[in-house]
Subunit: 300 residues, 2 copies
């Protein structure tokens, strides 16, 4: 890398959604709003606020409507929410937001278990949502999950990942978040998949969503960086996997990622100290150990 150029990296903060979604504790809306305020002050420009999910299925995100109604916008920051279907989009549209996300799995079984329909049906539904979004001038990102393995199907075919990604781009997705949901991707697999994707999709439309399940997330992010990927999903405090529970499959922590990027000579314009303050706040309201490396140095 040419250090004189210091490429800029976009961090897509998923802690409030993918993080809290997997936490055992249910936070008060006021605490979540406190997290949003603090995150907005760190310099992060892309914050996913919540998901329009059925509270019976994801109890921790019970208050998605209140979050959208009450969060404080910071000028220049891109606030988004995840929706699962057209009804979710219609509900989201009642509130102020900059962007929204949709999700489809590279594994048909996982997709059926997760959102109760096949991959093909999901993509058909996206095309309807995409048309409305285009008319409303709302960009959307698409998570493509389980790209390096599925808890049900195991091996996932790379060609199928590439084909779904191409389809998502053709539907108008501004960004495809290539998601290693179970943290199973190896150095070679990450390298091989992104090389294939980059033949069809420009790097600016690709994001990498790594999970720390097997400790390979940072190594894999380095590979994606080398191939030109410039957008990475992460969660403050590495939220999303309880340190004492099965898998510890949290998202990669935003503070560890920002610190590594800084050390590698990339810029993020994110204030690491303020980021650690977010994790400190989350430690207090969740009353649990935060497993991020940088936070544990900060919180000595």
């Amino acid at each position: 890398m040419d250090h004189n150029k210091t490429p800029s990296i976009k961090i897509f903060e998923v802690g409030l959604r993918d993080g809290l979604q997997n936490e055992p504790q249910i936070l008060k809306t006021s605490n979540k709003l406190g997290l949003i305020d603090r995150l907005s002050e760190t310099g992060i420009k892309d914050i996913e606020l919540t998901a329009f999910a059925n509270p019976d299925l994801i109890p921790t995100l019970y208050d998605h409507k209140d979050i959208l109604a009450l969060y404080k916008k910071k000028y220049g920051t891109n606030y988004s929410a995840l929706i699962f279907n057209y009804e979710g989009y219609i509900n989201l549209r009642k509130y102020e937001f900059d962007q929204f996300s949709v999700v489809v799995s590279a594994s048909n079984t996982h997709n059926i278990r997760n959102i109760n329909k096949t991959i093909n049906k999901t993509l058909e539904d996206f095309s309807i949502i995409a048309k409305h979004a285009k008319r409303d001038n709302r960009p959307f990102r698409a998570y493509l999950s389980c790209v390096f393995g599925c808890p049900y199907e195991g091996y996932i075919d790379t060609d199928s990942v590439v084909n779904i990604s191409k389809k998502l781009v053709s539907l108008g997705a501004c960004e495809i978040s290539i998601s290693d949901t179970i943290g199973a991707g190896t150095h070679q697999e990450v390298s091989s998949l992104f090389k294939k994707l980059l033949k069809f999709i420009p790097a600016r439309k690709l994001a990498f969503h790594a999970h720390g399940t097997r400790g390979m997330a940072m190594a894999n992010i380095c590979i994606a960086l080398k191939l030109g990927i410039r957008t990475f999903d992460s969660a403050f405090g590495g939220l999303g996997g309880c340190p004492y529970a099965y898998g510890a499959s949290g998202n990669i922590s935003t503070e560890d990622l920002v610190s590594m990027l800084y050390n590698l000579g990339y810029t993020t314009n994110i204030n690491l100290d303020k980021l650690c303050q977010v994790s400190l706040y989350s430690k207090r309201i969740l009353n649990r150990h935060i497993q991020s490396k940088i936070f544990s140095m900060y919180n000595k």
Copy 2:
């Protein structure tokens, strides 16, 4: 990498020394012997048992003589101990061992604080120890610490690291363990240093000793692997950094490393299940949370 070849990786297990050295708790000798027995059964072929250290300085390794007197050797496994000076070597020689280790820092200040002498004086002392070791037919490895930064001096000059490494090889060290004591090395720094070292020293004489302080250990190990390094230091359970204390600067966990190597197509001949049993035992006797990713999946 050519998967048909599946290169074999040597794991140098440092949990009993570098791990326990930094743990706040003092274990009973019987528990340490229990750890050694279990580690020997995992398939790990290189186990550092302890250090001949002053118990006032490293209280947790108070029983190094008892450990050397009482440990059960498994045929084919290489047992070693760290010594700090000639006196240590003379003491160690009273016991049964296969190899020993010495340590010098790439930072003069760190070396003086750590072992109370300059780098030059340390290397002079090594030359005396090395002569005796050669006569006794005992191979020794040398840890070169703080190669990517020092808590006192900060930046460390790469040329100086290369020169000390060359000197250590010329003194007869069978292996130089390039040690990122504070876990500060970046992808580029690791790549650049090993490339320089490999101009003078064959890969089989180089090991990489990574710490997880900033979450970059696995990424850095992947870089070293690509450059042909085939020996890595690690500690069962990622011991050596308390998860609740400053820095969380533990060694990289042996189980996470073995799992990643397996996923990358390398062989270690180490049984991951038995390795997790070692961490489970250590969890019980240390009565603390084990932060290894693979162990937390195993210990669900």
